[in-house]
């Protein structure tokens, strides 16, 4: 009897975790403690570069958002290249998933306690790291943010932010998608719908891209005399410059955010949008979201490059799946950043700081690519696998 009572309590506890809406997260906080240690072991041989040079006493630590996508692989490659060129010691680490915010803060704090000569940080959450950044400042350790900035960081803790102008990159996707859809929108007799899938609403890079897309699309459509409304996830609806009114709108931008950053949940959200008959285009604001859209299309078969008859999908970043989809004409195009250069610049900037130079923020661009310019000399090197 006792045993049955116990197991009832246990299963009730399990159900309760589900109810709180964080089944996955609950498990991940408990499981992640030993995992990072293993991750470190796995990452270390590939990530850290020992040098023999006498001047190579400088010791930098890099915290990436995760190793989930090949985007970070490219960034780590850039970090290693710069480390080798400059003869410095660099160690990279990152949490298991981009949603493991607490794990990342933990790693950052551990690195600060080890007093390195500098830290490069790609923050999963723009506010979670603030206390740690204050710690770094108090300990006199310079921090360089890359990929995602920490706009509210304590004065003087972050010396330089190296990031894609994410708002601008989102707008670039809107520019290209709108240009392709302009005629269909103009000739539509009923309201049309544009979808947007963002993997989360906590990091600066993703939210800026999402909002950049929404705001530019709204701006372009309004200039052509159309009314736009933004619906769906509250964060993005409230963040949009003009959320409009759904009842009277000609164009509805529908924003979906899954509960966790996994391809299968992004795919579920994407297929719910793509199933609607009035959808003209859809934007996935990073590799996971874009691959979610492509997964959803496996069944729907609605994506293509013919405006009006197929749904035009705009993606973000690269990777084999997205590159192949663009080659095959399933995905209309995507915006790529240059993670390799970003990783390299991060280490170079840390090196400059260590040598007493003053540094400032560096904005890198997002580039639009599609079937026509994938092999161009200025685009191809940024399209990592």
């Amino acid at each position: 009897m006792k045993k049955k009572v116990l197991s009832t309590i246990l299963s009730a506890a399990m159900v309760a975790t589900l109810l709180v809406g964080c089944g996955g997260q609950a498990a991940s906080t408990t499981t992640s403690e030993p995992a990072p240690a293993k991750t470190e072991e796995a990452a270390a041989p590939a990530a850290s570069t020992e040098t023999t040079e006498a001047g190579g006493e400088l010791n930098f630590k890099i915290v990436v958002k995760s190793f989930q996508s090949s985007y970070w692989q490219a960034a780590v490659t850039g970090v290693n290249q710069a480390a080798e060129e400059l003869g410095v010691k660099v160690e990279c680490n990152g949490p298991n998933a981009e949603s493991d915010i607490a794990d990342q803060v933990n790693m950052l704090t551990n690195y600060i306690n080890g007093s390195p000569d500098g830290i490069g940080l790609a923050a999963c959450d723009q506010s979670a790291c603030l206390d740690a950044l204050q710690m770094a400042k108090d300990a006199g350790i310079p921090v360089v943010c890359f990929d995602s900035g920490c706009p509210d960081a304590p004065e003087g803790s972050v010396l330089s932010t190296i990031a894609t102008d994410n708002y601008g990159a989102g707008a670039t996707a809107a520019d290209n998608l709108y240009a392709a859809l302009k005629d269909s929108i103009a000739s539509a007799s009923a309201p049309v719908r544009i979808g947007e899938v963002n993997q989360e609403s906590t990091s600066e890079s993703i939210t800026q891209r999402g909002l950049g897309f929404i705001d530019r699309f709204t701006e372009l459509a309004t200039a052509d005399g159309k009314k736009v409304a933004v619906v769906g996830n509250e964060f993005y609806v409230n963040g949009a410059k003009d959320k409009g009114d759904e009842a009277s709108a000609d164009i509805i931008i529908e924003v979906a955010v899954p509960a966790q950053t996994t391809v299968e949940l992004c795919a579920t959200e994407a297929s719910a949008i793509m199933n609607k008959s009035d959808v003209l285009g859809i934007f996935g604001s990073n590799q996971v979201a874009a691959e979610g859209i492509l997964s959803a299309n496996e069944n729907l078969g609605k994506l293509g490059t013919e405006a009006g008859t197929t749904i035009l999908a705009a993606g973000f970043d690269a990777g084999t799946v997205i590159k192949q989809a663009i080659k095959d004409g399933k995905m209309f195009g995507a915006v790529t950043q240059s993670p390799l250069a970003m990783g390299k610049t991060t280490v170079q900037t840390l090196y400059k700081i260590a040598n007493g130079e003053t540094v400032s923020d560096i904005a890198t661009d997002g580039y639009w690519y599609d079937n026509s310019n994938m092999d161009a000399a200025d685009i191809a090197p940024n399209l990592y696998d």
Partner: protein, 326 residues
């Protein structure tokens, strides 16, 4: 009182849950015109295979009165290991699938030995293997996402196991396989030694030991079955989705366990039905696929799923209470 008039057959959990599935389907069809499409069925099917397979497997530990929390992260781990061999080592898809399956059986065996022989509480033992497989998966793939061969690439034949494309029509072939497997395992549970002893361990372990059953062996087998089906689920997952990401998978097991419990597997062990599990998983999948269609935001979807789970556990407890009063 009024219950007595309803035939006992209609009160069986499978029947009740089947009615719930039909009701949910009806509800979503009425609530969202976009839901009423063949492609929606394809989508629900796609997303159900890996959960159904995990749920069939995990039913066995659940019926012994235990649980297997390692199946979710295990799934991702086996899939990453197999995918790594294909993408980076040039292995043929078939050979990589065998490796994934063996990997699953080994983890199941470890769970079984920890629980059946060493006497660790199932919750604890499988929580540990859950952590271990999560770490192992990241190591196997060197921390990066892996894409099994996509449609059109060489070695992508395994995707047709689950979804056959004839001309422009896509057929959710995977449903046939999961249905056959569910019937097979239903038979195994009810008509073979492995199954009957699994139930015996769950309803009264002492009595099972005293009646001369090799409890250790059959306890281990329950977890081996669970591990094997988690590995089958990993192939289904790789076949349906473009990329497998390391570090994910925690939470999948809750959907599978939830499906099994909705389908009538007793939360305290000793009873269960695999056909019920199959139907129970479709309640979860319908909610997962359908709720976004009616515009419910992701966090609310999880709350609704949680409430449904509480409801079905309550039904189980109330049934037990009635039985003990008889």
């Amino acid at each position: 009182m009024g219950n007595r008039k309803i035939p006992a057959k209609l009160l069986k959990q499978e029947v009740i849950v089947f009615i719930v599935v039909i009701a949910l389907l009806g509800f979503f069809c009425v609530a969202s015109p976009d839901f009423r499409k063949y492609t929606t069925i394809l989508t629900i099917m796609d997303y159900s295979y890996y959960i159904v397979l995990m749920a069939i497997g995990v039913s066995f530990p659940l019926i012994t009165g235990g649980v297997d929390l390692s199946i979710g992260t295990g799934l991702v781990c086996y899939s990453l290991a197999g995918g790594y061999l294909i993408v980076h080592k040039g292995w043929p898809t078939g050979a990589a699938m065998v490796v994934s399956l063996l990997f699953g059986i080994i983890i199941g065996l470890i769970n079984g030995i920890l629980i059946g022989v060493m006497g660790l509480p199932p919750f604890l033992a499988t929580l540990c293997t859950c952590m271990i497989t999560r770490g192992l998966g990241s190591i196997c793939s060197n921390n990066f996402g892996i894409s099994w061969p996509t449609t059109g690439q060489p070695g992508s034949w395994f995707r047709s196991i689950f979804k056959l494309t004839i001309g422009d029509t896509k057929i959710p072939l995977g449903f046939v396989w999961v249905l056959l497997l569910a019937i097979l395992m239903h038979f195994v549970l009810n008509h073979t030694k492995i199954g009957r002893y699994t139930i015996a361990i769950g309803s009264n372990k002492e009595a099972a030991i005293l009646s001369g059953i090799n409890v250790k062996f059959y306890h281990i087998m329950a977890y081996v079955i669970s591990g094997f089906f988690a590995a089958l689920a990993s192939i289904a997952y790789s076949a349906v989705f473009a990329t497998v990401l390391p570090g994910t998978g925690a939470g999948f097991e809750l959907e599978a366990i939830g499906g099994a419990i909705i389908g009538g597997v007793s939360a305290t062990g000793g009873a269960g039905s695999i056909i019920g599990t199959l139907i129970g998983v479709f309640v979860i999948c319908l909610l997962k696929t359908g709720l976004p269609f009616i515009g419910l935001q992701a966090n609310w979807q999880q709350i609704v799923t949680g409430v449904v789970l509480i409801g079905s556990v309550m039904v189980d407890i109330i049934k037990k209470r009635k039985e003990s009063r008889k």
